[in-house]
């Protein structure tokens, strides 16, 4: 894959955005997240192997929000779990996923090869903050938001007891969680506030990378907009945000760039304005997916995604593609210039 420029992204980190000070210099050229040849294979019973994520290359800069979209079962959630080291035991991961904290002298850390101890002490919460899929289920119902947030602050920063209260309130403020609701239990919060509480916990460790796995599933439209606007705010504050979602409307609202995944591979990466506006997606699958929206033609992509265990040779989309030619069924299209299609 040709090196993609990582500078000159739509947003640059706001110098005063991070209330904890130490604003990252906007000149750090290294991406926050850099995936190279990321592959996840599940070993199944009977010796079968299922490649759920296949040779992914991706860069994500500070202050940038990237939406990873695709049909259910395309491997996008597996990719997110791989970054956090939360895959089941039968998964084999290869490739590299370097996470870099901008403005720090430490070398980028490969989270794929890091041992569990490193993941627990240095990665989860500190390098990668997870914004959970269902915040209500993510919070303990029997403890107040304050006590859960305080525990996270103490775990990640070792804050002494005397300063814990102030530090907790600062942490809540960063996710715009109202301080007068800190003593509430999760079931007393509205969906939006529960989302903010969970986001506040994700932000405590000052992770340069926020990972949101289907943050809008099952929410009503107002709450979807509210949730993605919060994520946008954190991107504008200088964090790198990776949103894994099937919700194209939410992606359009929040993302700087869109990556479309199909059968374990990224088939297109495009700036959001050109993807959702003119000239539109270039890969036929991305085009079909976007056109399936009720606000567009509402026509589904014909057929169903292929079995990951039995991918066709050549382009995985060829059996469903109106533009497929003989070449498509024999040769896997290389990812060049933002898309992986012989005809784009």
């Amino acid at each position: 894959m040709s090196p993609r420029p990582v500078t000159g992204q739509p947003t640059t980190p706001g110098p005063a955005a991070d209330t904890r000070g130490d604003p990252s210099p906007p000149t750090d050229p290294r991406p926050v997240l850099s995936l190279r040849h990321l592959t996840v294979t599940f070993r199944m019973r009977g010796g079968r192997a299922v490649r759920a994520v296949n040779d992914i290359d991706l860069d994500l800069a500070a202050g940038e929000c990237l939406a990873l979209v695709g049909e259910s079962g395309c491997g996008k959630s597996v990719l997110a779990s791989a970054l956090l080291g939360l895959l089941p035991g039968n998964a084999v991961v290869s490739g590299t996923a370097l996470v870099h904290s901008p403005g720090t002298p430490t070398a980028p850390l490969d989270v794929l090869s890091a041992p569990e101890k490193t993941l627990a002490t240095r990665v989860r919460g500190r390098l990668i903050g997870l914004v959970p899929q269902s915040p209500a289920a993510h919070l303990t119902p029997v403890r107040t938001v304050r006590s859960q947030l305080a525990e996270t602050v103490r775990e990640l920063h070792g804050t002494p007891r005397a300063e814990l209260r102030a530090a907790t309130e600062r942490a809540a403020a960063r996710a715009a969680f109202p301080p007068d609701h800190l003593d509430h239990y999760p079931h007393q919060l509205s969906g939006g506030l529960a989302q903010r509480a969970a986001t506040a916990a994700a932000l405590v460790g000052d992770a340069p990378l926020l990972l949101a796995d289907e943050p809008t599933t099952g929410l009503d439209r107002d709450l979807v907009e509210h949730t993605v606007d919060e994520l946008r705010r954190h991107a504008d504050a200088g964090r790198a945000v990776l949103i894994v979602t099937h919700d194209l409307v939410a992606a359009e609202r929040v993302a700087d760039r869109v990556a479309v995944m199909y059968a374990g591979r990224i088939v297109e990466i495009a700036p959001a304005p050109s993807f959702f506006g003119e000239p539109g997606p270039r890969h036929p699958y991305a085009h079909g997916l976007l056109q399936a929206l009720p606000s567009r033609t509402f026509v589904p992509v014909p057929g169903m995604p292929p079995e990951l265990s039995r991918l066709p040779t050549g382009c995985a989309f060829a059996p469903r593609c109106g533009r497929a030619t003989a070449q498509c069924t024999t040769t896997l299209p290389a990812f060049t210039d933002g898309t992986a299609c012989h005809h784009a």
Partner: protein, 235 residues
Amino acid sequence: MLELAHLTAGYPGRPPVLRDACLTIAPGEAVGLQGPSGCGKSTLARVAALLHRPDHGTVTVDGHRVHGWRHRAPRSLRTRIGVVFQQPRQSADPRLTLADVIAEPLRANGRRAEVPDRLPELSRSVGLTDELLTRRPHEVSDGQLQRACLARALALEPRWLVCDEMTSMLDASTTAALVGAVESYRTRTGAGLLAVSHDDELLTRWCDRTVTLAAGAAGSAGAAGSAKDLDTWTS
């Protein structure tokens, strides 16, 4: 006609989520029901599918006034209404294969003999391949499982379909495919539809008219939580 009149419904120990709601669906009509989380639209859908007993109000299906809910509803009335839920994972018995999931209503109604003919037809109508039918729910994706759940709802050729957030866990393409399958079934049979969703673009595109259920159902008499006289429009 599927007539829901002056429904008040809720769950024990809590104030009713639905107050005095009225909704009438004509045969062949597609009605969208939208509203924010917690406004009682799923409860309304469950009442309409005869799965939840309302505290007050009446449900009339094709002229038959409903007196019992769940198992107490006569089977002939229950099976007139097909229902699809939001979460496919919760809606399919994890022990059954997709073929068994789809054929279950036929078998439960003593129409076992029709299974060999109807099963391929049903699975084709929702776009499932034969190979997928031999799998269990944990071996397929959410979208594929929801297709099977829709096929199950269509198995008895219901006169009415209730789709409660059928597509909110699904991607755009699967959404369009499932809505297309519902619509081709309705075109063929003239069935009526109650589609619940929080996506107004989807409902506007899908349904003949859309009804909004206001939030905060507990309110002053009549208006709040009612579909009766809130902004109703026709697309």
